[in-house]
């Protein structure tokens, strides 16, 4: 399991690509992820879990949340194998990891906003 | 390369070897083999058909073009190593009256 919660290289690449829209991207990601987490907790069968885990894995890897992506991948494999034992525990871990990175993203957001303000002056 | 040319050391004899099917597809290659822009037309020409498998009426036409280019009535063109099939075609068209065929 990777120790990296947020990969700074990915973040700076994102900032470069998105430019002024970086904060919006972060916001969108956070909003999306919350929704996904909810759906994951409520998911009834393996298929639903699979879809959610897969989707969450994708966007977290794009956003540099490495550990989060890895956890989702584990959950995805479980759901694929139709082996839902331990799935609940994994979902809880994902929840925790997200709670961990979330303030980090918010910090990113604030930092980039003030940086752009400095530039504008 | 299905049409191969060779000029003798003294530049007097041109040998053109045609391999495979001697038909319309070889038109340009055959013409390029005797239309030599930077030297005089050799006085004698040999067309070697040892590896030619087939000859059609466009090949006969190409031989006529060669003959015309090489001096028409005064040309010296020999067609050598024809297989029996090729010889038959040349015989029916009586081209042995125009070319030395062996």
């Amino acid at each position: 399991m990777a120790d990296t919660h947020l990969d700074p290289d990915v973040l700076s690449a994102l900032q470069e690509v998105m430019e002024g829209e970086y904060p919006i991207l972060v916001d969108t990601f956070l909003a999306d992820s919350e929704q996904r987490l909810q759906l994951l907790k409520q998911a009834a069968d393996a298929t639903q879990i699979l879809e959610m885990a897969h989707s969450f894995k994708g966007s977290s890897s794009n956003m540099g949340a490495i550990r989060l992506a890895d956890l989702c991948h584990e959950l995805e494999l479980k759901a694929q194998g139709q082996n839902l034992s331990g799935a609940e525990a994994l979902v809880a871990e994902i929840d925790r990891e997200f709670a961990f990175v979330r303030p980090l993203y918010e910090e990113e957001r604030r930092r980039s906003l003030s940086a752009s303000l400095i530039i504008r002056r | 390369m299905s049409v191969v040319t060779e000029i003798s050391a003294d530049g007097q004899k041109l040998t053109i070897s045609v391999k495979g099917r001697f038909d319309f597809a070889k038109h340009l290659e055959f013409r390029n083999s005797y239309e030599l822009p930077d030297r005089a037309m050799p006085s004698s020409v040999v067309v070697d058909l040892k590896e030619a498998t087939y000859l059609d009426s466009s090949a006969l036409g190409m031989l006529l073009l060669l003959r015309d280019h090489a001096g028409g009535e005064n040309s010296d063109i020999r067609v050598v190593n024809s297989s029996s099939d090729v010889k038959k075609i040349l015989a029916i068209s009586n081209f042995d009256k125009l070319f030395d065929i062996s």
């Binding site: 998105m18 829209e21 991207l25 879809e51 966007s59 | 006529l64 029916i92």
Partner: protein, 571 residues
Amino acid sequence: MIAVQPALESLTILIAEDSAADRMLLSSIVRRQGHQVLTAANGAEAVEVFRLQCPQLVLMDAMMPVMDGFEAARQIKALAGETLVPIIFLTSLSESEALARCLEVGGDDFLAKPYNQVILSAKIKAMDRLRRLQATVLQQRDQIARHHEYLLNEQRVAKAVFDKVAHSGCLNAPNIRYLQSPYALFNGDLLLAAFTPAGDMHVLLGDFTGHGLPAAVGAMPLAEVFYGMTAKGYGLAETLREMNAKLKRILPVDMFCCATLLCLSVQRRSVEVWNGGMPDGYLHSMATGERTPLTARHLPLGVLNSQAFDDRTEVFPMALGDRVFLLSDGVIDTCDANEQLFGVQRLQEVFALNRQPDALFEEIERALRDFGGEARDDVSMVEISLLEPARLNPPAVVYSDSGQSCPLDWSVSFEFRAATLKRFNPLPYLLQLLQEVHGLRAQSGALYSVLAELYSNALEHGVLGLDSGLKRDASGFTRYYQQRNVRLDELQDGFVRVHLQVTPEGEGGCLAICVEDSGKGFDVERVLERPLDPVRLSGRGVSLIRQLGRNASWSDDGRSARVEFYWEALA
């Protein structure tokens, strides 16, 4: 010079991705690379956007709600039709099964998450190259199809003209049977038939180099010469010389016409043959069952200049009911799947097995079919029988003058000496002269036959001294005509005189023909004693002259012949 990469044009790219953050990110990346972006959040939306806006490239997330990426890809590919719209799947699917599914539905490539800008850019470029390649291929295909259509149309026009020319003769005469099947749009083999004024039949089967349009180009002038000269009464040799000269003049060096030319004569019971470059024809004798091959002894038409051209023909005896069979090399060159030719041997086998001469055509056709062959060229076959004169009806000649004035009281004399006798046939000219007399037009056929007979007697038996007795059998026949050629070539002295006199007689008139030669003469009384016998091969055609003309008489020991023709007042 440094090779410069053409700048990638700005594409319109559709991004179908259900995760909003990912969609936003990807859009920014793609926009930064210089492209226009369209977005969709699920498969159904993706298909709709595609239908309305026609993007050139699609980045498709595999797993999406409402309609997944696979189904959307399938539908988009269907909508795109022939045009290539590359679809790059966005997927972190690692199993090869899932990847295989991407390809199955028409996906062209993958991009894994997390998105790598460099890789994405490279893939877009590569896909765009493919897209443009496909577009070029389609464009060229359409262009080719258009040109092909033009060419086909030109061929249709050529065919229409060609058919008029090729079929304005007497191919529908009852003694001719033919079969022509085209390799391309039309059969470029030329098959012509026409009657001479004497009632003989000239037939030509010709095969130009190439087929289709190029063949038609050469065919028309050739046909004009053939019909024109045959109608005027010219023989094979002169017609051949003219045709060869014409083709030599107008065709490019590498184009020529293989041809077999025949003259069938009921009167002389013979067939005269000239074959330049065509496969063997066959003369089938009903009496003996033998088939004599008519082999090519000459170069095709249009190759040699006039001095070198060889117009020598071969003559064979032909009895009533005998047939001549000609074919073009499309028959022999028919090829089966193993590149085996149908060949002359197989043809000979069909001949050998044939019992009913009338069935020969069908038997050959069936053999070709059974051989399973594919024609590589136009296929033409023709069979001409020698039929009794009553069964053939030469068409009436159409005259182009007003029919009002004509010469009625005149005479003319000609003397043709050795040099002229060798190379000139005066008959067409004499006939044309006589056709100025309207009253004689109805008897053109008989007139020409009699003139021809008198002239050939005078030339062959008189001046050349040939013995008509030679012609009593087939081999003698051949020797006779060979000797004729030899003696004509060597001729130094001698003459044939023709004297024509037209005088009015009552309401109509009378033509007196007198032909003299410088030969030794013959025993007139003995020949005249023979009963009128239309079937004999030999004999001085005396019976013919006596049958067709009036008051035939011979004098000066047979060196001078005289005959008259009469006509009534024209209605």
